[in-house]
């Protein structure tokens, strides 16, 4: 065996409390470079919270979280993030490409007026940033509508631009929170295939929170199942079984596999905490 690859994301004894309730307790997990992982679990179990912990937005009450070799911190350029239910009102006066651009440089002080910026910004940097924005937009195939108002675009088009803004910093980790929520089946499949391709081609680690496992099942390396304050990481065949889920919930759960390879989980109770964050 060669030298062990250090994990991209590592949680040790991680405990999170939100508003007095403990969401999960002493969770340990390691995600390896280039892995494509779906995060599953009932509502309110803390799936989005997991992403926010990795982003450094929510502190752990105990334990530690290491991202790309250092403790999680807010604004890490190595992480691309697509938040849950991110939509734009129709008259928001901004083009798709501006949104992608803001994601690249919006955390820097100054004014977003190009000809003022040019006065003190070295030309090379400006050009490189514009190239990165174009590249991210091309990558997700949003070139045709990136110069239109983002609020006037369809749900699928907005979702692709949101994916472009997640990719614009050339991240090593993508955290996607229910990115297929508002999409029809054809768009869902196109997006999953795109994410998988990005993950394989650029060795990007992907954590994908999904409601429905089936559209992503053929593409997954592993699933992370959150329930009852615990986390279980493994291949879909290991984790999504009647025995494992019943043990995790402490209640009888049935996992049915249909002939065309789809998985149905029956008897899954919702988490008692009402917070979905």
């Amino acid at each position: 065996m060669g030298a062990e690859v250090p994990p991209v994301i590592q949680l040790q004894q991680a405990t999170v409390r939100r508003g007095g309730a403990t969401l999960w307790r002493e969770v340990n997990l390691k995600i390896q470079p280039g892995e494509f992982v779906a995060v599953l679990g009932p509502n309110g179990v803390g799936k989005s919270t997991l992403l926010k912990v990795i982003l450094g937005l929510i502190p752990l009450s105990q334990g530690s979280v290491q991202v790309l070799g250092s403790p999680a911190r807010v604004g890490h350029p190595g992480i691309g993030y697509l938040p849950q239910r991110c939509t734009f009102p129709p008259d928001l006066p901004i083009r798709g490409q501006d949104l992608v651009g803001l994601s690249l440089e919006g955390n820097r002080w100054g004014v977003p007026i190009p000809f003022i910026r040019r006065l003190w910004c070295r030309g090379g940097q400006l050009k490189r940033e514009q190239a990165w924005v174009r590249e991210a937009i091309e990558r997700v195939g949003a070139g045709a509508y990136a110069s239109r108002r983002v609020g006037e675009l369809s749900g699928g088009e907005q979702q692709r631009l949101l994916m472009a803004q997640a990719l614009v910093t050339k991240p090593q980790i993508l955290l996607l929170d229910e990115p297929f929520d508002s999409l029809d089946l054809a768009n869902q499949q196109a997006m999953v295939a795109l994410v998988r391709e990005l993950s394989t081609a650029s060795q990007i680690t992907v954590l994908l929170v999904v409601h429905d496992l089936n559209p992503v099942l053929p593409y997954l390396d592993r699933v992370l199942y959150l329930a009852q304050g615990q986390a279980l990481l493994g291949s879909p065949q290991e984790v999504i079984t009647s025995e494992t889920l019943s043990r995790l919930y402490g209640a009888p759960i049935d996992v049915l596999r249909t002939r065309d390879g789809r998985v149905v989980v029956v008897g899954q109770p919702d988490a008692y905490s009402s917070s979905s964050r």
């Binding site: 955390n107 002080w109 977003p112």
Partner: protein
């Protein structure tokens, strides 16, 4: 120039023709009076601040906060009038002080109700101060509808100072503020200090309100603060252009309004609001007609 301070009827040298139409024979006359000179200068400074801050206010949907600050500014100015202080100073102390206090509040329903209560109380307080002051009538009139023709050299200095400070502030926080205003979730994840920026913006808004009240008064404040931004949002999808367009519109409205008030015997506030409303109506109409029935997929 003190005798011009509360002058409503401004017809120094107006050549009226029989039909009642005014011929602006001598446009240079606009600049010969010191109070007109001051008014035009004030129009520029106020447009720079109200146009840019107002555009961001429109983006952030914070018109309510703008209104509250205007009401508090009314109380502050009325108080300053009572004490014999410069109105501009009373205005800016009251609005900035309130902005700092509001920054501690959130955007929840309870907080909105609390702000509404403060708003009503501030207007009541301003009413009391006005009643106590010796120049009740003209004082109230100028605060509610603006006294742009009564702007003194001292007021102008204060306006210039606050304009430079506000533009400096916007120049520093502009980009992250825009990001936070357009896509808060994304900005938070990229490490933008959203809470701090929102507090800074309230202070900038307070300065803009304090300035605009001096030109168009408490009641007409939105003509310089909201209308230019609302029009710019309709016309361009580029934030940088929108910001500049909003400033240019605020500037144009105030100058056209002032010029019209010089030639016709009606108040500047009326002409400024007419300009803004007409532009807004035309732009809405054009956009509505140009809009495709269904955006192509």
């Amino acid at each position: 120039m003190g005798e011009w301070l509360w002058s409503v009827n401004l017809m120094p040298t107006l050549p009226l023709v029989a039909s009642g139409v005014v011929l602006p024979l001598d446009l240079q006359g606009l600049w010969t009076y010191h109070f007109m000179d001051n008014a035009f200068q004030a129009g520029v400074w106020v447009a720079l601040v109200a146009g840019s801050v107002g555009y961001l206010m429109t983006l952030r949907g914070q018109s309510f906060a703008g209104h509250t600050l205007a009401s508090v500014g009314f109380a502050g100015a009325a108080g300053a009038n009572l004490l014999g202080w410069p109105l501009g100073l009373g205005l800016i102390l009251a609005t900035v002080g309130t902005a700092l206090a509001m920054a501690g509040l959130g955007n929840s329903k309870d907080d909105q109700v609390a702000i509404g209560a403060v708003q009503a109380f501030a207007i009541g307080l301003g009413l009391l101060f006005l009643q106590l002051a010796p120049n009740y009538g003209p004082g109230a009139y100028s605060l509610l509808f603006g006294a742009v023709l009564g702007i003194s050299d001292q007021d102008l200095q204060l306006l210039l100072g606050t304009t430079l400070a506000t533009l400096g502030g916007l120049g520093t926080v502009g980009r992250p503020l825009l990001f936070a205003s357009l896509a808060e979730d994304l900005a938070v994840a990229r490490g933008v200090p959203v809470g701090l920026l929102s507090q800074i913006f309230l202070v900038l808004l307070a300065v803009a309100v304090a300035q605009a009240v001096q030109v168009v008064g408490v009641l007409l404040i939105f003509v310089l603060l909201a209308a230019p931004g609302a029009i710019a949002v309709q016309l361009t999808s580029r934030p940088a252009w929108g910001l500049l367009l909003s400033v240019v519109l605020a500037w144009a409205f105030s100058w056209v309004g002032l010029s019209a008030a010089y030639f016709w015997p009606y108040p500047a506030g009326f002409f400024i609001t007419t300009c803004a409303f007409a532009t807004y109506a035309v732009v809405r109409l054009l956009r509505w007609r140009r809009r495709p029935t269904k955006p192509d997929p």
